[in-house]
Amino acid sequence: MTYLPAGLPAPVTEADKLDQPYWEGTRQNKLMIQRCGSCGTWQWGPEWLCHECHSFDMKWVEVEGRGTIYSWTRCWHPVHPALKGFGPYIAVVVELPHAGKIRMLGNLLGEPQQEVEIGTPVTAVFEPHDDAKVPFTLVHWRQV
């Protein structure tokens, strides 16, 4: 059982493989993001170099899947054929204070009409899509 109906676009690694460690990590229920090997700056989304010191020595490190809701929206209008007759559903931008305050986007699991408040602590939930042509795993969030 997935949070959203089947038929939405499936994520794949970029042609230049920049984000490959992230997607491989999710398959093992790990949240992998970038940290500069030279100055320690956390960085998300992925980029080829550090935006702070311009080192190309970007490491991929595992971070704990917890954070707080930074912003959110509840989507009512179906904008994709797979979402016709479905909804509402909630998407949240989550800030990870222990990883340089980088932010991640996912769905907020649970009752779609639940009250959502900025600042609420949330924890990551991995949602595998093993039957996809190229299997992938999404990262959702749940109020603690």
């Binding site: 959203l4 499936a10 984000d19 930074y70 912003s71 994709h80 932010r103």
Partner: protein
């Protein structure tokens, strides 16, 4: 060192637009719409279209200037320019780019244009079916986030949360556009007024936006003719001079998956101060404003970041009586704007600003001398400009 500025050096001497249609309803192909708008702008100025030598557009307009110049039989093509970025952010930047080309001697008679016929192409508010996605889209599409109403919701929601903005403030923005559209027979929403109840009872699209917080999608085309200030009085219309223009965005705006340093912003924070500096004016000097409504929450942040009021004043300032011509403190979107006149990616707003300075708007602000135009907010890059009548030079 000479001052680096465009202030007073270039004027808009012609404006033109096609009939505005609901999306996918244009009987003409997109390229024909572009040609018709350009011809109308030339006729308005009283200039032979064959004397046009330069073109500037934005938002990945599909109508190639080389083809346009060939179709029109222009004697030569000089400057051709496309402003990077989508979503109407480049509406003022395209004018600025054309003006910069004129001032630097690369262009003489420049057209700024935008044409949209969405029946021919993919609509903005609808996602394509199936398949795979990579890069930024891989981090958002699988979570059901596709279209601008959703993508920018996070910015508006954060700003409204941080500053305690009430829904009535957004409602006033929507109602001002619909109010002005009722006086404008060209407006798609002419004859279709919006009441407070209509607004409040409308369905949610993506919180914090309800239906009437979101722009339309339309077919049509619009164009402006620009020449140097020295030549501006050789043409048929009262010139509208460019007093200031600025473009850009805030720190790391395009960092994927909502990792811009400041998320709850229209992106005008660092851009608007450069506008005022070039124009040598401030928010209090603006007689009438056109502010691009992709979403009313975007207008809210644009106004704050241009200094029209402080965030904590928003709930008091954003009342319908303050936003309507002729008597409001800041008459805004006086043709009906993106919400109720037409979503021509904001170029219709530039044209309305010119009309206000000519004194020919259907919701005229008496004696308007300084007109602001804020192009599409929240995207990157954004852009903004100030036009003025001859008295402001």
């Amino acid at each position: 060192m000479t001052e680096r500025t465009l202030r007073g050096k270039v004027a808009v001497v012609g404006v033109g637009e096609t009939k505005y249609y609901k999306h996918s309803q244009s009987p003409d192909p997109e390229f024909v719409l572009a040609l018709k708008a350009i011809l109308a702008a030339c006729a308005d100025a009283g200039i032979n279209p064959k004397d046009v030598d330069s073109f500037a557009s934005y938002s990945n307009d599909r109508n190639d200037p080389s083809r346009i110049a060939s179709a029109l039989g222009c004697k030569e093509l000089r400057f051709s320019n496309m402003q990077w970025g989508g979503g109407g952010g480049g509406g003022a930047a395209a004018v600025g780019n054309a003006a910069a080309a004129i001032v630097s001697g690369q262009a003489d008679v420049a057209i700024v244009y935008r044409a949209l016929a969405q029946g021919q192409f993919q609509r903005f508010g609808v996602a394509a079916a199936g398949g795979t996605v990579a890069g930024e889209n891989a981090l958002v599409n699988p979570y059901g986030i596709f279209v601008p109403a959703q993508r920018y919701a996070f910015k508006m929601m954060r700003f409204m949360h941080d500053h305690g903005i009430e829904r009535e403030a957004l409602r006033a923005i929507a109602m001002a556009s619909y109010h002005h559209a009722q006086a404008n027979p060209r407006a798609v929403m002419y004859g279709r007024p919006l009441s407070e109840e209509d607004y409040d009872n409308a369905r949610w699209i993506s919180e914090p936006s309800r239906l009437f917080d979101c722009c339309q999608e339309n077919d049509g085309a619009a164009a402006l003719v620009l020449v140097s200030a020295e030549r501006a009085k050789d043409f048929r219309q009262k010139p509208a001079y460019i007093l200031g223009v600025a473009q850009g965005s805030n720190h790391r705006h395009a960092a994927r998956a909502y990792n811009a340093t400041d998320l709850g912003t229209s992106s005008f924070g660092p851009v608007a101060p450069r506008l005022w500096e070039m124009a040598k004016l401030g928010p209090k000097d603006v007689d009438v404003l056109q502010s691009y409504e992709n979403f009313t929450g975007g207008v809210l942040m644009s106004l704050v970041e241009h200094g029209y009021f402080k965030p904590e004043e928003a709930n008091d300032f954003l009342k319908l009586e303050n936003l309507i011509a002729p008597t409001g403190k800041l008459p805004m979107n006086t043709s009906g704007g993106n919400l109720a006149e037409c979503y021509m990616h904001g170029l219709e707003l530039q044209i309305e600003a010119v009309r206000q300075l000519r004194g020919t708007s259907t919701s005229q602000v008496p004696g308007a001398k300084v007109a602001g135009v804020i192009a599409g907010p929240m995207v990157t890059p954004v852009s903004t400009m100030i036009l003025g009548s001859e008295e402001t030079l």
